[in-house]
C-alpha cells in the first residue's frame, strides 16, 4: 500500500466500496427472488430448515458480539493498548451485526412481516428475546461509540463500556440459547452451548479484528508494535484453545451418553462432509494451524503469521458452524428408539443439503454488507487505532 499515491489509493477505496456494495446488492436481489418464489428455490427443506444463510448470519452475529471484546478489555478491564482500538471494535460490531441480522430477516418465509415480529412478543421465546437484544445492542454500542469519539463524553466511556460488555454477554447467551433450548434434536439441547457461543464469539471476533487491523495498518503503511501484536496474538491463541476445550467437552459428553453415540458417530466419523469439515476444517485448519502459527516461535516471528492465523480461525469458524447447524439437522430425529424407521418424510434417514445459488448469494450478501459498512466507516471517520508507544511504555502497559 505504501507505494500507492493518493489518487490510486482513493480509486482503490472506491473499487472496494463498489465491490462490497455489489455483493450486498446481489444478496438483496437474491432475497427478493426467494421472497417472490418461496424457499422452493433454496436447498432448505422440511428436515434441514435452516441452511447456509443461517451459518453466515450466526457467524456474523456471534463475531459481532465478540469483536467488542477488544473494546471491553480497554474500557472495562483498563488495558491501555486496547483503548485506542475500542472505536474500531464498536464499528465492526455494528457492521457485522447489520450483515447478520439482514440475512436472518431476509431469509424469513414472511420477511414482509418484520413489523409483526417487532410488535408481537412471546417472552418464552429466545428469538423473542433477541428482538429486544439485537436492537438494544445497536443502541448501546452507538452510545458507547459516542462516548469514545466525542471528547466531552469521554468520562462516560467506562460506564458505557461496562453496559456494552454486559449486554453483549447477554446477546451471545441468547444466540447460544437458540440451540440450547431445543429438546427435539440430538445436536442441541445442551447447557454448555450458551457458554460455548460466548467463547466462540471471543475468538472469532478477535480474529476478525486482527484481520481488519492488519489491513488498515498495511493500507496506511503502519506497523503494529511488536509488543501489542504479541499481546493480541497470545489472547487469540488463548481464545482458540478455549473454544476447542468447549467443543471437545460438548462432543465427549455426548459420546458418554449412549443415546447420543449414534449422532456423534455420524458427526465425527461417518457423516460424509460433516466429519471432513469438522476434522480438517475446524480442528486442523481452524485450531491446530492457528495455534502453531501463534505459539511456535519460528512461525510467529514470520511476517503475516498472525494475519494468517486469524484468517484460518475464521475459516474454521464457518466449518464448525456448518457442522453444528447443518449436520445437527441432517441427522434424523430419534422418535422411536430401538426401531428402524422409514417414512415419506425422511424419518430415520440422513438428509443431505445442497445450498442453491440464491441462498448462497444471500449469505455472502451479509458479508458484503458488513464489509461495505466497515470500509466506508473507516474511510469517513477516525477508526484507525493510533498507538502512543511512548505513553504506553511509560505507563508500563507494553513490554517488549
Amino acid at each position: 500500500m505504501a507505494t500507492l499515491n493518493p489518487r490510486h489509493e482513493e480509486g482503490l477505496f472506491y473499487a472496494l466500496a463498489v465491490l462490497g456494495g455489489a455483493v450486498s446488492a446481489i444478496g438483496l436481489a437474491a432475497a427478493l427472488y426467494m421472497e417472490h418464489s418461496g424457499h422452493v428455490v433454496t436447498g432448505m427443506n422440511n428436515q434441514i430448515v435452516w441452511g447456509l444463510p443461517h451459518v453466515f448470519a450466526i457467524f456474523l452475529i456471534v463475531a459481532a458480539s465478540g469483536v467488542l471484546n477488544v473494546a471491553s478489555i480497554g474500557s472495562v478491564f483498563g488495558k491501555k493498548p486496547y483503548k485506542s482500538r475500542a472505536p474500531l471494535s464498536a464499528l465492526l460490531c455494528i457492521a457485522m451485526l447489520t450483515g447478520g441480522l439482514t440475512v436472518i430477516m431476509l431469509d424469513l418465509g414472511r420477511a414482509d412481516r418484520l413489523m409483526v415480529a417487532a410488535t408481537h412478543f412471546n417472552p418464552t421465546s429466545v428469538f423473542g428475546w433477541n428482538v429486544i437484544l439485537y436492537p438494544g445492542m445497536y443502541a448501546i454500542v452507538a452510545v458507547y461509540l459516542w462516548t469514545l469519539m466525542e471528547r466531552r463524553m469521554n468520562p462516560y466511556s467506562k460506564v458505557a463500556g461496562l453496559a456494552t460488555f454486559i449486554w453483549r454477554i447477554l446477546l451471545t447467551t441468547g444466540t447460544g440459547s437458540i440451540f440450547a433450548f431445543l429438546v427435539a434434536r440430538q445436536a442441541y439441547g445442551n447447557a454448555i452451548l450458551p457458554a460455548m457461543f460466548i467463547i466462540m464469539s471471543f475468538a472469532w471476533g478477535l480474529a476478525v479484528f486482527m484481520i481488519v487491523q492488519k489491513t488498515m495498518f498495511g493500507w496506511n503503511d503502519m506497523t503494529l508494535h511488536a509488543a501489542i501484536r504479541g499481546r493480541m496474538k497470545n489472547l487469540l491463541g488463548t481464545f482458540v484453545a478455549a473454544v476447542f476445550y468447549f467443543v471437545a467437552t460438548y462432543h465427549l459428553t455426548n459420546i458418554y451418553f449412549a443415546k447420543q453415540t449414534a449422532f456423534e458417530e455420524f458427526i465425527l466419523l461417518s457423516g460424509g462432509i460433516f466429519p471432513v469439515l469438522f476434522w480438517v476444517g475446524y480442528v486442523l485448519v481452524g485450531t491446530v494451524l492457528p495455534l502453531l502459527l501463534i505459539y511456535v516461535p519460528d512461525l510467529n516471528r514470520l511476517r503475516g503469521s498472525v494475519f494468517a492465523a486469524s484468517t484460518l480461525v475464521v475459516i474454521g469458524a464457518f466449518c464448525l458452524l456448518y457442522v453444528f447447524i447443518i449436520g445437527g439437522q441432517a441427522f434424523p430425529l430419534e422418535i422411536f428408539p430401538g426401531y428402524d424407521v422409514k417414512s415419506s418424510f425422511m424419518d430415520g434417514a440422513i438428509d443431505h443439503y445442497s445450498p442453491t445459488l440464491p441462498e448462497a448469494l444471500l449469505a455472502f450478501g451479509g458479508l458484503g454488507i458488513a464489509f461495505t459498512l466497515t470500509t466506508v466507516g473507516v474511510r469517513v471517520l477516525r477508526f484507525l487505532p493510533q498507538d502512543d508507544i511512548a505513553e504506553l511504555e511509560a505507563a508500563g502497559s507494553i513490554v517488549d
Binding site: 421472497e35 418464489s37 418461496g38 424457499h39 422452493v40 427443506n45 422440511n46 428436515q47 430448515v49 435452516w50 424469513l108 418465509g109 414472511r110 420477511a111 412481516r113 418484520l114 409483526v116 415480529a117 408481537h120 412478543f121 412471546n122 418464552t124 421465546s125 429466545v126 428469538f127 423473542g128 433477541n130 428482538v131 437458540i178 433450548f181 431445543l182 429438546v183 427435539a184 434434536r185 442441541y188 439437522q329 430425529l333 422418535i335 422411536f336 430401538g338 426401531y339 428402524d340 424407521v341 422409514k342 417414512s343 415419506s344 418424510f345 425422511m346 424419518d347 438428509d351
Partner: protein
C-alpha cells in the same frame, strides 16, 4: 363432557356402546358400521371461546393400522387442500405421514400415522417469537397464519417433526384451512370440523377404525375409557410434554 352431548351422540352412546368396544359391527353382510370411537361433539357456536374444560385428543391403535394404507393421509390432504407437489419432495407439506417401524430385536413391522401430537406443553409454542404458534384452550395446537413470520424455529423445536413449511405460492387452498407461502403449518386436528361437531377427517376415513377422537378430560368419553383400560404410549414420553395423541401397539 356430558354438557357437550347432542342428540346424535346420545343416540350413539345408547345404541352403540358395543360399537366402541368391538371396533366395528356388521349391520348387513359386507356392510359395517365403522367405530369412530368418540361420537360427534357438540358444535361450538360462533363467537364462543374454546372451552378449557375439554382436551381434544386422539388414540391410534397401531395394531389396526394396515401397512400400505394411506387413507388417513389422503383424507387429511383432501380436507385441508394439501395437494402441491414440489420438485424436491422433501419440500412438500406433510401434515400426517405414515411411519414404518421395524423392531430391531425381532423384525416385527408396525405402521402408524404420525402428526402433530398436540402437546399440553408444546415446544413449538415456547419458541415461537411472535406467539403465532399457540395452543387453544381445548388443547389443539395451531399456527396463526397472520402472525407467523416463517422463521421455522418451531420446526427446529418440534420433537415429532410434525411441522411443514410452505415452500412455494399456493393456489388450491380450501375455505376451512388457511394456508400460504412462507408460513409453517401442521395438523390442526381438523379444528374447523371439530368446531362444527365433526370428527377429524383422518379419523372419519380410517377404514380400520384405528383412530379414536375425543375429549381426554371426560372420563366417560370412549377415548378416555380406552386409555384407562389399554396399554397406551406417548411418543418420546421422556420429554414429558403430555401429548394429546396416544398410541396403542408400540
Amino acid at each position: 363432557m356430558s354438557q357437550h352431548q347432542n342428540p346424535r351422540r346420545a343416540f350413539i352412546a345408547a345404541a352403540g356402546a358395543s360399537v366402541a368396544g368391538l371396533g366395528f359391527t356388521a349391520i348387513a353382510p359386507g356392510l359395517h358400521l365403522m367405530a369412530v370411537g368418540e361420537a360427534n361433539a357438540a358444535p361450538r357456536p360462533a363467537g364462543q371461546a374454546a372451552s378449557p374444560a375439554i382436551r381434544w385428543g386422539l388414540l391410534i391403535d397401531a395394531n389396526k393400522c394396515a401397512p400400505g394404507c394411506t387413507k388417513c393421509i389422503d383424507a387429511c390432504h383432501e380436507e385441508n387442500g394439501v395437494s402441491e407437489q414440489m420438485p424436491d419432495p422433501r419440500q412438500n407439506s406433510q401434515w400426517i405421514r405414515k411411519i414404518e417401524l421395524v423392531d430391531r430385536r425381532n423384525g416385527k413391522l408396525t405402521t402408524l400415522p404420525m402428526m402433530c401430537q398436540h402437546c399440553a406443553k408444546p415446544p413449538c409454542v415456547d419458541v415461537c417469537p411472535t406467539g403465532a404458534s399457540m395452543k387453544r384452550a381445548d388443547g389443539i395446537v395451531l399456527v396463526d397464519r397472520h402472525t407467523c413470520i416463517g422463521c421455522r424455529y418451531c420446526m427446529m423445536a418440534c420433537p415429532y417433526k410434525a411441522r411443514s413449511f410452505v415452500h412455494a405460492p399456493l393456489t388450491e387452498q380450501t375455505p376451512g384451512t388457511p394456508r400460504g407461502k412462507g408460513c409453517v403449518e401442521s395438523c390442526t386436528l381438523c379444528v374447523h370440523r371439530v368446531d362444527k361437531g365433526q370428527q377429524p377427517a383422518c379419523v372419519e376415513k380410517c377404514p380400520e377404525g384405528a383412530m379414536t377422537f375425543g375429549d381426554l378430560n371426560d372420563p366417560e368419553s370412549v377415548i378416555s375409557k380406552r386409555i384407562a383400560s389399554a396399554n397406551t404410549t406417548q411418543v418420546r414420553g421422556e420429554l414429558k410434554l403430555d401429548l394429546g395423541v396416544r398410541y396403542q401397539g408400540i
